[in-house]
Symmetry: C2
Subunit: 191 residues, 2 copies
DNA sequence: CTGGAGCTGTGACAATAATCACAATCCATG
DNA sequence: CATGGATTGTGATTATTGTCACAGCTCCAG
């Protein structure tokens, strides 16, 4: 048996997406492969795409004085983009790249108008998707606002253990807002 | 002369809102007054409203072990709500209350269907508004992810000086993720 | 199989922020 | 305009995290 299909992932975005819109949205997407380290969205360019990860994962990071601060990891079945850039047509301050060799469904907004008869459904889906992505991101933001570094790690351990299995300690450290040394020590002392 | 009208504030949410939709949206809103300290959204209840501040300000906070952590201040001309609660019909983990005596335009989703002929426009506006609110909130989140406490204060000083004029040091401290003593010391040492 | 690049763990020390205590100041109200 | 509660400033101390240095480990590529 195969895993979940692109249609299933689209449905998970909102239970209010009409079933008859799914084929239109699937037809809009393009499947592409990216080698580990390949940049999908480059700092300084305007983002025009959503990404749905089918295999591997995508890493979103901010360049602070030459050091990378990870803001997001997107795994199989999840969507990502840079909404600030996409919505405001602003140059991206973030980079999105493949963290492993990846297969990704690309939803390109510039290809949207070339699909007459689908536009209204696509626009509606895009708005729902945008809110969905932001609400997921808010959870990560709240780690910083409400918890201490140790509490953040325990939260991930409990609610997102996939991260611990697939992301290296150094990469995870910047995602949690601590140095790799501190994260190593947090991880060391059990409970 | 009066200040800006509710219609002007609605237009600022997105420049793609059709001018002819504005009157429908204005008619949907209800003006209400709240005394300082009055709770508009109570922890544990499902949020069904958007708020547009006309006068005064609203404060959104999270209750962590009995202590309030401020997550948002909404001033004149800006919108707020709890999108996680509103979108998912989940009990709110946050409280929204009047930080000063306030006059607020309330957009109640349950009153929406009672306005036949406006529903499509309202739904469209609500989606745009939701994204707008999240993108504004993201800026605050990035303060925590990318900057040190001192950098956060300098950022607010430069980009949001209204906060420094209208919010007490103790309230601002939790918004910046430091103790009031630390914020006092940051403020003390000039440049 | 082995050398080396890139992780990770850990000790010593420095820097930063929290905590605790209390004095000074602000300011609303009688 | 006096006064008491709330807010802010500041010192002393503790706790936490960052920085630096280096050793050990892992795991490919040759």
């Amino acid at each position: 048996m195969e895993g979940k299909s692109i249609g299933d992932y689209i449905k998970k975005v909102s239970d209010r997406i009409p079933a008859e819109d799914i084929p239109l949205l699937v037809a809009w997407a393009e499947s592409r492969e990216f080698k580990k380290g390949t940049v999908l969205l480059k700092e300084g360019t305007v983002c025009r795409e959503f990404y749905l990860v089918e295999k591997g994962y995508l890493r979103t990071w901010y360049n602070k004085d030459g050091a990378a601060i990870n803001l997001n990891f997107t795994f199989e079945g999840a969507f990502t983009t840079n909404l600030k850039s996409l919505n405001g047509r602003l140059p991206s301050e973030l980079t999105i790249e493949a963290g492993e060799d990846a297969r990704v469904w690309v939803f390109n907004l510039d290809l949207r108008r070339e699909r007459p008869g689908s536009d209204a459904q696509i626009v509606l889906f895009v708005r729902r998707l945008a809110l969905h992505i932001m609400l997921v991101a808010e959870e990560h933001s709240n780690l910083f606002k409400l918890y201490t570094p140790t509490e953040r790690y325990r939260y991930i351990e409990k609610n997102n253990p996939t991260l611990l299995q697939r992301i290296s300690l150094s990469q995870l450290a910047t995602y949690l807002g601590v140095t790799r040394e501190t994260l190593s020590r947090i991880r060391g002392k059990k409970v």
